[in-house]
Amino acid sequence: MSATTTGIESRSAPLRTRARVISNEPDGRGRTLRLAVPGWPGAIPGQFLMLGPGAEAGVARRDPLLPRPMAVYRDLGVVSGAAEPSIEVLYRVVGRGTTLISEAQPGQSIPLVGPLGRGFPVAPGPGLALLVGGGTGIASLYELARALLRAGRPVLVLLGARSQDDLIGRRDFEALDLELVCATEDGSHGVAGRVTEPLAERLRRAVGEASGASRAGIEVFAVGPTPMMRACAGIAAELGVRCLVSLENPMACGFGVCLGCAAPRAEGGFSLVCRAGPVFDAREIAWEGLP
């Protein structure tokens, strides 16, 4: 139902498999789940997977029923000493499904379908890439930052959260060769206030200082709560900068059949977040129609 083609189509068909839990550790108020995934083909930054609501138990679980969409946080490949590729999922315990996922023990298996959806387009060039992550949206940005760095782009990452402990994944970003700005609403770490404030300031400065190709190539990549992404889209639009977002609508399947994740399009009608997205150019979305 969609003409959207902003996101990059997958290189390989999704797997339907069981992932084995390697570790499942707290990271501030979030958790990092490391999984061994036999046959994992690698994901494009921004792609996601559907993860069963908890490890498989001796008795089949029927409640909660649906898998949870999760960003591929770190795509680790085959790490030394391992037989299978591994990936990481960065998540927060917000309900029944994520509570069960948080209880998954090393060695247990979790049903997994993925990689799914279209990922972020990564173009080389001198234009600054400003990556804005809020809450669990941070999880979609780590591999994107690495891919942009590999493409030779200057990268600025801005992470926002309520408090220091909510800045999940912060230490992993600190280990990358890029500039990192953190904003917390309570001022416990980094800039006090919302992440959109440093974004507006840094974007204005970048646009003012740049010219030619480095001016035209500036992009904002925003992933987080809908109001945050909408605000980022507004800031970028005002300065004539392209803004890419990754939507997080609820979905039951992740591969285009439940039709539950429809997002309203600016031109009318809907796009499925799971197939046309989750990555969209912010201008494609009718933001006022998102719940």
Binding site: R16, G52, R62, L65, P67, A252, F255, G256, V257, A263
Partner: protein, 316 residues
């Protein structure tokens, strides 16, 4: 994933069934609205390993569905209010059908707002050589009668089935709503008007509330409940319908594994449809088909068809 450990050693069991005149290689179909147009499942499932699939309900013109939120999880199930979003009959016949591999049994699903609209749709799809049969979705809102459902009014249902029957010689299934007082009456209407089979049940009308926001969770307020939560209701209705009519029944509602599917067969279904489970395990339908054959073998049934109605319902 349930497929990985299911033994495939049911040699000697005849898995074939005939549903509404449609020969199927096994008794497992997938339910309309949960299986897209089939191709979405190609990465997960060999479409020739299932009996067939019922495609997303079609309307004469392409149709967008409801605004979000369209779905919500509920205990052992989910709510949806998509509202027949589909590509329209033309794109289905010209683009979706040719993309499917040969040998896949496709049952089209038709939705309309009036009997004549259903009839036109059914005539168009059933004329296509790749369409094995048509299921009419008689369980969604009926605009002409002011929101009442075809499947809830025996007179409207009779008129609908009669009109559609006149439009096709091909296999015709009627998918019934569970939102009725006496399902047996609705089944009898279908049989009397010449339907070749009935499919039941569609989703159970339901709602859910977000207490913190004091709002319904769905933009449409009401939705359809599906998943394991509704399976015992579906089973009861299949049982009651099977007592009432001789035409074959396709049982659907909350089937997650072969054991669930066998229950429907025992209660009188000739075949089953797997629905919501396709979302969480897109390979489930093929595993369920293998599991039914295993069950038949373990219990000494030479043919899966012999499981239909094999429930021992004597008291005590």
């Amino acid at each position: 994933m349930s497929g990985a450990e299911t033994p495939g050693g049911a040699a000697g069991v005849d898995e074939r069934v005939v549903l509404a005149g449609i020969p199927l290689r096994n008794a497992v179909l997938t339910a309309s609205g949960t299986f897209g147009y089939g191709t979405e499942f190609a990465p997960f499932l060999d479409l020739t390993q299932i009996g067939g699939f019922v495609a997303k309900s079609l309307t004469l013109e392409p149709r967008f569905g409801n605004p979000p939120p369209r779905i919500a999880e509920t205990p052992a199930g989910m709510l949806n209010a998509i509202s027949i979003e589909n590509v329209g009959v033309r794109a289905f016949l010209e683009e979706k059908l040719p993309a499917l591999p040969e040998g896949v049994v496709v049952i089209a699903s038709a939705f309309g707002t009036a009997p004549e609209v259903y009839a036109e749709l059914v005539a168009r799809v059933s004329a296509h050589p790749r369409i094995a049969g048509v299921e009419i979705n008689a369980s969604c809102p009926h605009v002409k009668a002011g929101g009442i459902e075809f499947g809830q009014d025996p007179k409207l249902l009779a008129e609908l089935v009669r009109t559609v029957r006149a439009a096709t010689q091909g296999p015709l299934l009627v998918k019934l709503s569970p939102n009725v007082t006496r399902i047996a009456d609705m089944a009898r209407v279908c049989e009397a008007e010449g339907a070749d089979g009935i499919t039941l049940i569609n989703a159970v009308q339901a709602m859910e509330v977000d207490v913190e926001r004091r709002r319904p969770v769905l933009s449409n307020i009401l939705g359809g409940l599906s998943g394991p939560a509704i399976r015992p209701i579906a089973l009861r209705m299949v049982w009651q319908a099977a007592q009432a009519v001789k035409i074959p029944i396709c049982g659907v509602g909350g089937i997650t594994d072969a054991s669930d599917a066998v229950k429907f067969l025992l209660c009188g279904a000739t075949a089953v449809q797997v629905g919501t489970t396709n979302y969480l395990d897109p390979g489930a339908a093929a595993a369920i088909a293998r599991g039914i054959a295993d069950y038949a073998q373990r219990h000494g049934f030479a043919r899966v068809a012999d499981l239909t109605g094999a429930l021992d319902a004597r008291r005590g």
